[in-house]
Symmetry: C2
Subunit: 512 residues, 2 copies
Amino acid sequence: MTDQSPLRTGGRAARRAARAAPLAQHLRPVRPGMSGGTYNPLSQADVERIHHAALQALEEIGLADAPPSGVAYLTGAGAIQGSDGRIRFPRALVEDTLAKANRSVTLCARDPRHDLDLSGSRVHYGTAGAAVHMVDVEGRNYRECGVQDLHDAARICDVLDNIHFVQRPMVCRDIPDNFEMDLNTIYAVCSGTTKHVGTSFTDPAYVSKAFEMLHMMAGGEDKWRERPFVSNSNCFVVPPMKFATESCMVMEAVIKGGMPVLLLSAGMAGATAPSTVAGAIVQAVAECLAGLVYVHAVKPGHPAIFGTWPFGLDLRSGAMTGGSGEQALLTAGCAQMHRFYDLPGGAAAGIADSKLPDMQAGWEQMCSNVMAGLSGLNMVYEAAGMHASLLGFCHESLILGDDLIGQALRCVRGIEVNDETLALDQMRQVCIGGPGHYLGTEATLSRMEVDHVYPRLGDRTSPKEWAEKDKPDLIAKAVARKQEILGQRAAARFDPNTDQKLRQAFNIHLPA
Amino acid sequence: MTDQSPLRTGGRAARRAARAAPLAQHLRPVRPGMSGGTYNPLSQADVERIHHAALQALEEIGLADAPPSGVAYLTGAGAIQGSDGRIRFPRALVEDTLAKANRSVTLCARDPRHDLDLSGSRVHYGTAGAAVHMVDVEGRNYRECGVQDLHDAARICDVLDNIHFVQRPMVCRDIPDNFEMDLNTIYAVCSGTTKHVGTSFTDPAYVSKAFEMLHMMAGGEDKWRERPFVSNSNCFVVPPMKFATESCMVMEAVIKGGMPVLLLSAGMAGATAPSTVAGAIVQAVAECLAGLVYVHAVKPGHPAIFGTWPFGLDLRSGAMTGGSGEQALLTAGCAQMHRFYDLPGGAAAGIADSKLPDMQAGWEQMCSNVMAGLSGLNMVYEAAGMHASLLGFCHESLILGDDLIGQALRCVRGIEVNDETLALDQMRQVCIGGPGHYLGTEATLSRMEVDHVYPRLGDRTSPKEWAEKDKPDLIAKAVARKQEILGQRAAARFDPNTDQKLRQAFNIHLPA
């Protein structure tokens, strides 16, 4: 029995109950699409120099190897094919395209609650890549990855709050036929998550069958076109400054089918792009501007993501390094160019060079992820699970990435400054005749859930508590969480009727 | 036999030889004191609101518990003691102090090559703290730390390029007498490193003996005063808004002895400071402004570091969290206030909540370290080795922190934009009739050492190479490196004559 008023006790109990329930989306401390942009690696003058260098590259160097259809589209729009076969882009053509281009793109998800609004400096994190290995953390081993691994990755992403989209992060190495691989990739990811999905196609000839599958999943072509929940990650260039002929034909086909396009320029700084950060950004911007002109020549206003993805290189070995500071700068610099153009953009961050989810992986993944978010990158691709400079994907690392990205998002959210947060009145009350501390004040308690991100697997115990809990191992906790997630029924599965139709129409490798 | 010209071959051999030698300091890709400031978590209007709220807090709330000597100094300078005993600061007094304060401070090192120039947004990383445990990574254990551990930490810091100063990171728990602990702390750190050292004093009565020791180390009081190589980390406030009476008396004593002062306000957001990021910054700024007035009242122009160190709190448990996104924002916001005032400043970053150097530790340490650097923080304290929210220090983590901070510094260095880095000419040469790639071009090779930071222990091998190398473990590599460093003769040791004198005058616990 206490002498507290029933009202006060009731209020406290109600608050406690409210705290135990999951927070409503709008009250959560971090959400998809928070606005970044407080970090500007480039000055305004530097941004403009990069822009003008890219325009000059397009005008004077141009791009080789467009397919005949692309040559027709591009020259029809005002580009000029030289006697060397290269397509060159007059400055005015590029500037006109920039003026007309979409300032925002909505990437739909099967579940509309997961739709992504790509505009301004709104930040979203998700997977991507083409890893060929699964990282087996318990065996410290790399093995070939397959369709079940991909499906499991999608299922894990589906329940992680801070993974906002699922571009396929790995290749189904157990499906040797490319056509079957491309279609099973879509099925494996879409049946694992209701978030937006990204995928790629090996051959333009496969696209029409993929649309058949997507129409079936959507419940008809009209429904698909209304809310296309899969985008095409399209490597339309082979840097430096050459169109990827086949991929361009894929691009034309997906545009006609109503699928948003990620215009992906993946130069390697020092190999297929200049070794300098600024030079690699210039080339990536030039290539994506060419892609943007191309998209608009095929279909004005088609949703496209400006995908400047320059990668870092370890110049001693000539091998890629995605975990470096140079990589973080490449990506953040690109994000600033996207904001300059006010175009929906994406780039790669969160890649670890480390083979395992160890301390190195943690610092590598955070460095580029937090810098990408602070620079206001709309789509942070490769943000979780990626190891060995994109060669390996790791489910446990993906799960830990949810904590890591939650923290990065807290940084993106930034510092709110208003009369309440400045807290001068509170300071006065606490210091002058008050308790002399802020613990348990209403102002502190009322914000403890909405202001603070608490890690799910990250450990904050004291050394004493930690020892009492038998010194829990981070990786073991991630393994347990993986088993818990995969032990549940997949919420994203298609209804049995649709699934049966899909399995009748296509050779689905995943067991029903 | 090749048909290459001898000139060309000779040039290549010369380049190769040059690459094998360590780079001259001015050519290194990262250095102490690179300028940050590209990240601005606060708008200009927000910065000014924080400034005005701090002035209001000083004018209306003021600080309690100044020692009598401090009351005399402060009221002599124009502050007003109220009937409640609190010292309040008229706005004009604070503004006058800000106008007169040093815009830069040089922190000297026993080896002048390690001097630190604290000005503008120049960034330096180093250790700090008062950990009470050593983290034994091989035994996964926390044990009490002692003077040998502290000395070893200093020796390790001495050889790590990216640790720029050594504030004592842990307490000598094996020296129960506080006087002996304080003096042995100075000896243990200074005999381990020639970099700038920071330390603290438990009692004002110990300061004069410490100066005797420092004069002996310097070779006389005049030499010490000319180049004071130790600064005093001084917790002059007990937040919220109370002077720490004893520490203020320490401060007065060290000022008279010519020792630079770190004015350290270490509020805990949600306990001893408001829970909001903005509110905790307001209070820390107000407290440090009070400290600045105090320093200038004792001795105008004395070198002081504006040490706003608000810490994050996990409001669920009431325990500190230094590894959170909130912590990274607290520190970066403070750095922006330092730049607003154009005062040499410091704050805490790089703290891990994790008990061990695992993936969590990696992401926690990088998050706040890179954001501190990008925000242009002059002194990033606690930047390496700190675990369990400051309770544990880890030698292996310190060693790995050198790689981590090297990467953060690369990000601080940022993106150079000029005709050479924009690389338009190179792009033209490569694409039009050139090799179609940038590998091995002169432009690429000439910059491979000066542009790129290569990790020392971080692993960038392919999965195949990694397996061939027997899957090296990051922590095992750090353990081996520690043994290698500690197996060498300590370069920072005093000459035998000085050391003998020190050992005669003081009860030195470290074996000779």
